[in-house]
Symmetry: D2
Subunit: 144 residues, 4 copies
């Protein structure tokens, strides 16, 4: 699956939200959060979305389903700084039987800092593509 | 500047190449290199490209120019594993007076593992947009 | 200052505690949290201790005081796994006019996973040693 | 096994050496390399030591032996900066049937920046302690 979602900058477009606080270890010598540090923020937010939906990622993995990142897009609009509290909005889209996408909006005190999209595929323990569990297709997933 | 380059999977499209070896610290519990670890590889390759061109990034920075990441795209095609030697091809494109893009091809033993594009803008020490040094526009830069 | 504290495995020895949840990005190909990932956990817990004491680290830094790590010791007793909730106990000790130490106890569901000690020195923006603010010597700091 | 080695600041005490170049991603908002970034440097140097000895870590792992970090000590003497070339000296000591230690000296252009010690134990795929391969006890290992 190729990346097709266009992330909105309207917070209302994101039915689920998770807050992270940036760490000093994630800053760089420009005095801002390094661009690579955003990816674990998105991942942590995805993990919390799955927990919120009643399907923790640890359950998925012990059930033989891993979710790999197939594609990734980030637009860095304004930098994050140490100790910022970042509200990450998530919305799921483009769900098929084996893959789906998530769009993200990162804000600090209602100010947009970044948008992002990730594309995920389901694989088994050997890394082969497999079907997503049925609940991925439900309205609960795409509208948490 | 918005991301416009489409990275080729043909190694000949990349005039500069840099090799990195993956670290154990960069793997994850799926047994492969974590998707966030690719970004420092791209950055290390950019730093080596600038050095190769005779303009080390440390010189740029002491001259008051920082290069920030504005946009980022990665397509993960086949996983990287611990101890892989990854050849990263780079090609510069879409150079304007204040921004430019780089496309990347990541291969292990001639096998494509990932492609990527980054968009960069020049900023001063205060984070304000500024002009790129003149040599960025030269043919040496876009064809190293 | 050389590291002198011996971290206790008794939770009651730690007057302040902070909980972190491990990220998937922090695991490695052995299926456990990589040993380097513990250091940002300790740092995050120190930052929360300073906030709890009414002296956020961002205030210290804007007041011209940085706290550098001089020495570090970690004993890894039992591994951490993805999605673990880690309770990090902290206790300050060996405070002098320019340096101090913190001992740490890391537990998951009351089970000891690691102990650690960090030694910190105060420096100014240029990296030169300087005096700690007076409140560092107070009983409030050493017994939060 | 508890940490017992005291790392020397004499380069001649270290029979094996490996050079790394620091990455921008590894710096922090103090303008220096973050203290947690040193641990992957030590790990990369250990991996190169094993390769140099004719026993790549990938072979060890496919043979059912993992080497876990049991204890860790770092003394940060002078900071590392972006783009520094760091020469890491390694010497093995205190080898038993199931564990060993490595001392490290980190220098930039012959100037000492840090010293460190790691303690390692052999475990099987399930994380249980097991014997080290016989060559760990040989003079070749302790004096590469």
């Amino acid at each position: 699956m190729r990346l097709t979602l266009t992330p909105s900058t309207d917070p209302d477009a994101y039915p689920f939200s998770h807050r992270v606080r940036t760490r000093f270890a994630e800053t760089d010598a420009m005095g801002v959060v390094h661009h690579a540090a955003y990816l674990p923020y998105l991942e942590e937010a995805r993990v919390e979305l799955l927990r919120h939906l009643g399907h923790p990622y640890t359950d998925l993995r012990s059930g033989g389903v891993d979710l790999v990142v197939l594609e990734l897009f980030v637009q860095y609009r304004h930098p994050l700084h140490f100790d910022d509290q970042v509200d990450i909005g998530l919305v799921v889209g483009a769900v098929t039987r084996t893959a789906f996408q998530i769009a993200y909006l990162l804000r600090v005190a209602d100010e947009v800092r970044a948008t992002a999209v990730t594309v995920h595929g389901a694989v088994d323990a050997g890394g082969r593509a497999r079907r997503l569990p049925d609940w991925f297709a439900g309205p609960q997933f795409t509208r948490p």
